[in-house]
């Protein structure tokens, strides 16, 4: 992917250690981009990667990446584990989805994608749904459940509430999304998230992360203007995902892209085991490229042999060049220990899914 690596993305990446991300001050464009002219300007820099301030951003992708919500856990009299979640829909906020671009987002719990729900096969899931929006909304979860829990025919009115209840089955990785009409509108505005069901015997220990591929059609011409993984274009180019050499990485990958019929995930300098839909413990394929249609998903498992920086991106290069690209930073296991926190080891984050301060960026922390 020479095309991609010669892109302007490198310029920002090389500066990723800087703390102040105020790139739109007067300055220099194309500083480190091979083949591109250096440009000094007395005006403003139009930088598609760096946010001036993270406050108005739709999500903190670094926080989202490894945040799994297991719900409020209790055990019922018959020994079944009950997991209660709260999801609140809203549709009136305008958030920054790419530097300088403000878009009317429709969200579950204030972010795109919504929170990742996680349970073990056989658990009882209870989702307390509150519609804080101005339109009808619902939650349609993929998986096996009763018709009345499907979130299709019973729209929840503005200000209304509904409790979805079903058994987590089968194990795998699933999307959940609003299923109100016009469906394309409700999904493309951002009403979706990931729901993971673990098998009763857990998968091997790994550095686990969620990746949702999506897009934004900001000018409403039924074509996406921006493509992302985890809600913000180019985010992981500026903030590479830190992983460890020789350690198993498990990516729960879901494609929620609207308008474009396909999307894909290509990993550089490596191969991964692909478990389609995550519903099997035997991998379907050993590859570095998976193509998914809307709503399709899978689990990717890989280890990096060599330290360094590696790209991952849509091999549909149009999507990559409109934001769907990122970097893994593989730390040298022989190098002295850094202050990198292994988020995965205590991945029981908040027991309550709904927490309003989730979408705060912490750029300093991330770029350490």
């Amino acid at each position: 992917m020479a095309i991609l690596t010669t892109g302007f993305v490198l310029s920002s990446f090389n500066q990723s250690s800087v703390k102040a991300q105020d790139h739109s001050k007067k300055g220099i464009v194309g500083e480190h981009t091979p083949g591109y002219n250096l440009l000094e300007t007395v005006g403003d820099v139009l930088d598609p990667i760096s946010f001036n301030s993270a406050e108005k951003a739709i999500i903190d992708p670094m926080h989202y990446l490894r945040e799994f919500n297991y719900g409020r856990v209790s055990t019922l009299s018959d020994g079944v584990v009950l997991r209660e979640f709260t999801l609140i829909a809203s549709d009136n906020k305008v958030k920054e989805i790419s530097p300088g671009i403000f878009y009317n987002v429709w969200t579950f719990n204030g972010t795109i994608p919504g929170p990742t729900l996680r349970a073990t096969e056989g658990d009882l899931i209870r989702i307390n749904f509150i519609n804080n929006g101005s339109k009808f909304h619902s939650i349609h979860t993929h998986g096996i459940h009763k018709a009345e829990m499907d979130g299709v025919f019973e729209g929840i009115a503005p200000g209304g509430k509904f409790t979805y209840e079903f058994i987590a089955q089968p194990f795998g990785v699933f999307p959940y999304h609003c299923h109100m009409q016009p469906l394309e509108e409700h999904i493309s505005h951002g009403l979706y998230g990931v729901y993971i069901v673990d098998p009763k015997t857990p998968r091997p220990l790994a550095d686990e992360m969620v990746m949702v591929m999506n897009g934004y059609d900001t000018d409403f011409d039924t074509e996406n203007n921006f493509y992302t993984v985890n809600g913000i274009p180019y985010y992981y180019m500026e903030h590479p995902i830190q992983i460890e050499q020789d350690r198993l990485v498990r990516v729960y990958l879901v494609n929620m892209l609207e308008f474009d019929p396909i999307n894909n995930f290509h990993l550089h300098a490596n191969m991964y085991q692909l478990y389609r839909s995550g519903t099997n413990l035997v991998p379907d394929e050993y590859t570095d490229m998976v193509t998914m249609s809307q709503g399709e998903r899978g689990i990717l498992e890989f280890k990096y042999k060599f330290p360094g920086q590696y790209m991952f991106h849509a091999h549909k290069t149009e999507f990559a060049e409109k934001g769907w690209m990122g970097l893994f930073f593989v730390k040298d296991s022989k190098a002295p220990q850094s202050n990198f926190d292994d988020v995965n080891d205590n991945n029981t984050t908040s027991s309550i899914v709904y927490s309003q301060n989730r979408s705060k960026f912490n750029l300093e922390e991330v770029s350490k």
Binding site: F8, S11, S24, V29, G30, T33, G35, Y36, N37, L38, L39, T41, V42, G43, D44, V45, L46, D47, P48, I49, I97, S98, P99, G100, I101, F102, Y103, Y216, T218, D219, N225, F226, P233, E318, E321, K322, G323
Partner: protein, 426 residues
């Protein structure tokens, strides 16, 4: 009634008169201030104002693409991102990313573009709306140097001056024609010119709709400029002929003591001589303005690297412009004395603007300026057509003939046909 009114106004003092003059302005100011006040705004805020950005020009510089943009919408905007071919790019914007109404900015995008390939430049504003403009073939923007200036001057001379001079050579031939045939050629000229006038208006309209924002009311601008230049040139040519006639009359008075009746015949004779000359001059000026537009078109084609198109344009305009020489010659052909020097001057007036057009089109193209030049040209051409038609009707009535006859109609139709046919080569 009228008397009463007059008496009322007579009673108004000077102070009151001034007050009456000022009050409309005060009321207007108050009304405007009210509309912009929060109360006025709350009345008017019923719709959603949509931002609009017009990309007026795209320049391909060494290793970068520069888009000249203007906020042509009803609200202030902030430019957020830029793209090439719908792929997001890092860019700079000068002087600032925030554009108040009608202000302009340059978006500078470092990009290794390839010559002759088509490009689309897009600008996305803070609300996610994207505005774009296509360029058919990228070509390095020219910086004026001696070579380029000479090249365009040679092309301009080749297309503008030489063909017109060739056309002027028909002068002696037209002189010998009888009235019918002469009127045929005059009408032919009118036909040629009408075609050129329409062509200029359509060309302006095309430029306006592709490059100039709707806010400038381009179509109205074209019509306005055409009408105004028509009227101004009409006035100028009338004054010109009248003054010349008067001068010759007064000169006659001073040299001889002729009776008033003979003076008037002399003046008429003079007019017979001066009027066609004025018409020819006006034709030369009108064609000159038209050729300015041709110069713009040629250098634009050369700039775009369309070698084939450039060649065809040059061949086409060369043939086309030979007939323009004929147009200049026709009115003066019957006016007695041979005026070789004047003819050459008029040839230059008509042809030289091609060179200027080529320079301007090549080095500092502005769509709005091009449209104005073309529209002035169209107005001038229509004024000339008017003069020719009145001249034909003048000569026909002297010969007791109707303006509408086989030779004039045929001439007019064939004139337009010639232009259309030679125009196909372009």
């Amino acid at each position: 009634m009228e008397k009463e009114e007059r008496s009322i106004y007579r009673h108004i003092s000077g102070k009151k008169l001034i007050a009456f003059a000022i009050i409309p302005f005060v009321v207007l100011t108050a009304m405007i201030l009210f509309l912009f006040s929060p109360i006025g705004q709350s009345f008017l805020n019923s719709g959603v104002p949509m931002p609009e950005v017009t990309i007026e020009k795209i320049e391909f510089q060494e290793g970068r693409i520069v888009a000249f943009i203007r906020n042509t919408g009803p609200v202030d905007i902030t430019v957020a991102q830029a793209d090439i071919n719908d792929r997001i790019q890092l860019a700079a914007i000068e002087p600032s990313r925030s554009l108040p109404r009608l202000t302009e900015a340059q978006v500078i995008i470092p990009f290794p573009w390839n010559p002759a390939e088509p490009y689309e430049v897009g600008i996305t504003t803070s609300d996610g709306a994207r505005f774009s403009k296509n360029v058919e073939a990228a070509a390095q923007v020219l910086t004026p140097n001696v070579e380029q200036v000479l090249l365009f001057a040679i092309i301009g001379a080749y297309v503008g001056i030489i063909p017109i001079m060739i056309g002027l050579l028909w002068y002696p031939f037209i002189r010998r024609l009888n009235t019918n045939k002469y009127n045929f050629f005059l009408s032919l000229t009118a036909g040629l010119l009408v075609f050129l006038g329409i062509d200029a208006v359509l060309e302006s309209n095309e430029i306006i709709s592709e490059n100039v924002a709707a806010i400038f009311n381009g179509q109205v601008l074209i019509v306005m400029v055409v009408i105004v230049s028509f009227l101004v040139l009409l006035y100028a040519s009338e004054t010109l002929t009248q003054r010349a006639a008067k001068k010759s009359v007064s000169a006659n008075y001073s040299t001889s003591s002729l009776s008033s009746s003979s003076a008037s015949t002399t003046s008429q004779q003079q007019q017979e001589l001066i009027k066609p000359l004025a018409i020819s001059l006006m034709i030369a000026i009108g064609i000159g303005l038209h050729n300015f537009g041709e110069g713009l078109a040629i250098s634009a084609a050369v700039l775009l690297g369309k070698a084939a198109l450039g060649t065809f344009l040059i061949v086409g305009f060369t043939l086309h412009n030979t007939t323009e020489g004929l147009a200049i010659v026709a009115p003066i052909a019957k006016s007695g004395q041979v005026m070789i020097r004047k003819l050459i001057v008029m040839g230059f007036i008509a042809g030289a603007p091609t060179i200027a057009g080529a320079w301007i089109g090549g080095f500092l193209y502005s769509p709005l300026a091009a449209v104005i030049f073309l529209s002035v040209g169209a107005g001038a051409i229509f004024q000339v057509v008017y003069s020719i038609v009145s001249w034909i009707s003048h000569t026909s009535s002297r010969n007791r003939k109707s303006l509408i006859n086989a030779s004039t109609i045929a001439g007019f139709a064939i004139g337009m046909l010639i232009m259309y046919t030679t125009g196909l080569l372009i």
